[in-house]
C-alpha cells in the first residue's frame, strides 16, 4: 500500500464495499449467469435456485416439445449433474472415468474430449456407484473434480490441461463425486468417504494456478475448522451466541473426530453481498451411533463461511448424534422470501432427515423447521428454542438415546430411510410465487447397527439397512412437492412411483421440468404440478438435473439419463425381506421393467 495516500485509499475502499464481486477477478461467472441464454453453473446461478427467465417454452406450448438431438457419453453407471452452456458451446461430463465433452451447439460436433487417466482402484472405494455431478466454468477454464480427487483446470477452448491438484487420498477412502463451484477468484470442492472414516472439509483453490487458498474441516480443533470461538455463532436458547472454545472436540470421545466423517459432497451456494458461501456437512462415521457418544459436532451441520478466508460466520447442527445416516450435504438455496409475514434474506435447505429448514442467511437464526413429508417419524418436531430435534425413542438406534437400542438390535419402521426424504437431487425456487419445487423420496427403513473397527481404506459403515416404500401411503417411493418455506407447509404433492432423483428447473414460462427413475422427462404446470403437460421416455432412468438455455433465439432443455447412483442401488435394498410385508411393491425389481444402464443426454426444443 505504500505510495497510495490515505486520501485515495478511502474512496477505493468505499468503491470495493459498494460493488462486492464486480471489482474482483470473477465478475465473469456473475455476468454469464445473469444472461438466461447461458446455463453457466450447475444450478444456473450462485443462489442454487435452478430458475430460468426463459419463457419461449411455456405452459401453453410445452405439449409440442420434442427431442432436438441426443448425445451418448459412452459410459454406463449413474449420470448425475447436468450440462453447462456458455454461448455457442455445451460442456457435459460422464461418471468414471470422468470424460468431459465440449460440443458445438451449431453443429453438435465434438470440439474436444478430455478423458483423464485414473487409477481404477478408486472405483471400489466409491462403492457402489461412480457418479460425478458435473463441471464448472470460469474465465475460459473448465474445472473437473475427478473421482480420484484430482481437481483439474482445462482450457475451455482446447481441452488442454492447465493445472491439476490432488485434493484428497483415495488410499484412505477419500474420493470425489461433487461438482466444483466457482465463487469469486476461487474454485471450491469437498470430499466424499463418510463410509470410510474420512474427515470432511471444504477446500478453496485459486482458479488462476490451483494453489490451495484455504481448507476448513467439519470437525476437530477450532483452528482446523477455521472457527473463531468468540465470533463464530450458533443458535443457542432461542438466539445466536458464540460457539465457544473446542466446540467440536468436546462432542467426541477421544480421537474419534479424526475419522469422524462430516463429508462435503453436496452443492454449494454463494451470496456476493454477504461474501459468504453455504453448504451442509454429512453424517458422522460410523453408522453405529453407540460407538461414538456425543453430538459429533459439526457433522450434519449447515455452514456459512467467508469466501476469501474460510472463516466460519455461523453453524447450525440439524441432527446431533446421527443414528440414521441422515447425511446433511443437501444444497442450500438462497432466496429473499416472506417468512411468517416478514421479508427475509433466507436460506432454505431440505435435509435428508425430512425437515425443511429456513434460516436467516445473514445471521444464521433458525426461523422454520417443519417436515416436508408427513410420514417423517424419527423426530416429533424440532424444538425452536434449542434447535434440536425431539427424537422418538421408538425409532432410535443408539444406546445413548434409548436404553433398549444399540448394536445388533433392529429398529423398524423408521421414516425416512437413510437416503433421506431428499438426497442430493437439488430443489428449485420459483421467484414468481416464492415457492420451492422439491424432488423427494418416500421411503422408510429398518436399521440394525453393529460394532465395526476402523482400518484405513476399508469400509467403516456399521449398520444393515432394509428400505421400502413408505407404509400406509400411495405405495410409490417418491413425491414431487411444492413447499412454502415461509410457513413450513407442503402446498402441493404429486405422487411418483419411484424416488424423484432429478433436479428440476422452473422457468418464467410457468413450468417445472424434471426426470424420473423410469426415464421420463416431464414438464408440469408450475401452478398445478399435478397437471402433467409433457412427458417423454428417455433412453434410461434419469438421476441427472435439468438445464435450460437458448441458442440463436431458440430455447432448449437438456437432461442426462443413465440410471445408477444410490437411487438405483438403494431401491434394491428395498426388497430385502419380501416377507415382512411392509412394502413389497416391487421396488427395484420393478424398475428393471422400465430401464437399463447407459448415459445419454437428450436435448428438447419446440418444433
Amino acid at each position: 500500500m505504500s505510495g497510495i495516500s490515505t486520501q485515495i485509499k478511502l474512496p477505493i475502499a468505499l468503491a470495493l464495499a459498494c460493488l462486492p464481486g464486480l471489482a474482483l477477478a470473477n465478475a465473469d461467472v456473475a455476468k454469464l449467469t445473469k444472461d438466461p441464454n447461458n446455463w453457466a453453473m450447475q444450478a444456473g446461478d450462485f443462489a442454487n435456485q435452478r430458475y430460468s427467465e426463459l419463457k419461449q417454452i411455456n405452459k401453453d406450448n410445452v405439449k409440442n416439445l420434442r427431442p432436438a438431438w441426443t448425445f451418448s457419453t459412452g459410459v454406463l453407471r449413474g449420470h448425475e449433474g447436468g450440462p453447462l452452456v456458455i454461448g455457442n458451446t455445451l460442456y457435459v461430463h460422464s461418471p468414471f472415468p470422468n470424460k468431459v465433452f465440449s460440443i458445438d451447439l451449431e453443429t453438435q460436433k465434438i470440439n474436444w474430449k478430455y478423458e483423464p487417466k485414473q487409477d481404477p482402484s478408486v472405483i471400489p472405494v466409491m462403492c457402489c456407484d461412480t457418479v460425478n455431478r458435473g463441471v464448472a466454468y470460469a474465465e475460459g477454464k473448465i474445472f473437473l473434480q475427478q473421482a480420484d480427487t484430482n481437481l483439474v483446470a482445462l482450457d475451455a477452448k482446447t481441452g488442454k490441461e492447465l493445472w491439476k491438484v490432488k485434493n484428497g487420498d483415495p488410499k484412505a477412502g477419500g474420493t470425489n463425486t461433487n461438482a466444483p463451484h466457482v465463487f469469486k477468484d476461487k474454485v471450491f470442492t469437498g470430499i466424499s468417504g463418510g463410509e470410510f472414516g474420512v474427515r470432511g472439509y471444504i477446500a478453496a483453490y485459486n482458479i488462476s494456478d490451483g494453489k490451495l487458498a484455504w481448507k476448513g474441516y467439519s470437525m476437530g480443533p477450532d483452528s482446523e475448522m477455521l472457527m473463531d470461538p468468540d465470533k463464530t455463532m450458533t443458535w443457542t436458547d432461542g438466539k445466536m451466541a458464540p460457539v465457544g472454545k473446542d466446540s467440536s472436540l468436546k462432542t467426541w470421545q477421544g480421537d474419534q473426530w479424526k475419522i469422524g466423517g462430516g463429508t462435503t459432497w453436496g452443492w454449494y451456494s454463494y451470496d456476493p453481498a454477504l461474501n459468504l458461501m453455504y453448504y451442509g456437512s454429512g453424517n458422522p462415521s460410523t453408522w453405529n451411533p453407540t460407538q461414538r457418544p456425543g453430538d459429533n459436532k459439526w457433522s450434519m451441520t449447515l455452514w456459512a463461511r467467508d469466501v476469501d478466508t474460510g472463516k466460519v460466520a455461523w453453524v447450525y447442527q440439524m441432527t446431533p448424534h446421527d443414528e440414521w445416516d441422515y447425511d446433511g450435504v443437501n444444497e442450500v438455496i438462497l432466496a429473499d422470501i416472506d417468512v411468517k409475514g416478514k421479508k427475509t434474506p433466507a436460506l432454505v435447505h431440505f435435509d435428508r432427515n425430512g425437515f425443511g429448514y429456513t434460516l436467516n442467511r445473514k445471521t444464521g437464526e433458525l426461523l422454520v423447521a417443519e417436515k416436508f413429508d408427513p410420514k417423517v417419524n424419527w423426530a416429533t418436531h424440532v424444538d425452536m428454542k434449542t434447535g434440536r430435534p425431539k427424537v422418538d425413542p421408538k425409532f432410535a438406534t443408539s444406546k445413548h438415546t434409548a436404553a433398549d437400542r444399540g448394536p445388533d438390535i433392529n429398529s423398524k419402521g423408521i421414516c425416512p430411510a437413510a437416503l433421506g426424504t431428499k438426497d442430493q437431487q437439488p430443489a428449485a425456487f420459483n421467484p414468481k410465487n416464492g415457492k420451492f419445487y422439491v424432488p423427494t423420496n418416500h421411503v422408510c427403513m429398518d436399521y440394525e447397527p453393529f460394532k465395526v473397527e476402523y482400518t484405513a481404506g476399508q469400509p467403516y459403515v456399521g449398520a444393515t439397512l432394509s428400505m421400502y416404500p413408505a407404509p400406509g401411503s400411495h405405495g410409490g417411493m417418491g413425491n414431487f412437492i411444492v413447499w412454502n418455506a415461509g410457513t413450513g407447509k407442503i402446498e402441493q404433492t404429486k405422487a411418483e412411483k419411484f424416488s424423484v432423483w432429478s433436479g428440476p428447473v422452473v422457468t418464467a414460462g410457468g413450468i417445472a421440468c424434471y426426470g424420473t427413475l423410469e426415464g421420463h422427462f416431464k414438464c408440469v404446470d408450475a401452478d398445478n404440478i399435478n397437471k402433467e403437460l409433457y412427458k417423454f421416455k428417455t433412453p434410461s432412468g434419469i438421476i441427472g438435473n435439468v438445464a435450460t438455455w437458448s441458442h440463436k433465439g431458440k430455447q432448449y432443455m437438456g437432461v442426462l439419463s443413465g440410471i445408477g447412483g444410490w437411487a438405483g442401488i438403494g431401491m434394491a435394498a428395498g426388497l430385502e425381506k419380501d416377507t415382512d410385508g411392509l412394502g413389497a411393491v416391487g421396488g427395484y425389481r420393478d424398475l428393471k421393467n422400465y430401464t437399463e444402464l447407459g448415459g445419454v443426454m437428450t436435448v428438447f426444443s419446440l418444433p
Partner: protein, 134 residues
C-alpha cells in the same frame, strides 16, 4: 440297447465324480447349518465379516447381486483358489476392492467362504444368523 444306456450313465457319473471336486465337497460342506439360520462359529464369523465390510452394498443384502455380481451364482462357479484371490486381491477395474488390507477378512476367509457357499447352496437362509449350540 438298455445295457448300453446304463453303461453310458455310469460312465457319465464316474466322469463327473472324477472331474468335479464339488461333489466331494458336497458331502462335507464348509459350513454347518440347522434350520437355515443357526450356523457354526466359523460361519457366523464369516457372516459378521460380510456385514462389517459392507459387501451388501454391491452384492445385495441377499447376495443376489446389484452393482456387483450375484454370489449365489458365482459360488457355484468359483474354485476356492479363485474365491480367495478375488477377495484378497480384488478386481479393481470391475469395482471389487482388494480386502487383503482388512485383518477381519484375512482372519475369517474360511468362514466367509463357508457362509457364501451356504447361501449359494440354498442351505443358509438370507438375513440374520445365530450361533449353533453343539
Amino acid at each position: 440297447m438298455r445295457t448300453e444306456k446304463n453303461r453310458l450313465r455310469v460312465a457319465v457319473l464316474l466322469a463327473a465324480a472324477l472331474s468335479l471336486p464339488g461333489i466331494a465337497q458336497a458331502e462335507d460342506p464348509p459350513y454347518k447349518v440347522v434350520d437355515g439360520n443357526k450356523v457354526d462359529t466359523r460361519t457366523l464369523d464369516g457372516w459378521r465379516t460380510w456385514r462389517a465390510l459392507a459387501c451388501e452394498r454391491c452384492h445385495g443384502p441377499q447376495q443376489q447381486g446389484m452393482v456387483g455380481p450375484s454370489l449365489i451364482d458365482a459360488l457355484k462357479r468359483l474354485s476356492r483358489e479363485e474365491f480367495n484371490k478375488t477377495v484378497l486381491e480384488g478386481r479393481p477395474e470391475k469395482g471389487m476392492p482388494n480386502f487383503n488390507g482388512s485383518e477381519q477378512v484375512t482372519k475369517n476367509l474360511d468362514g466367509l467362504y463357508g457362509f457364501l457357499k451356504g447361501r449359494s447352496d440354498g442351505a443358509i437362509k438370507p438375513g440374520r444368523l445365530e450361533e449353533l449350540k453343539e
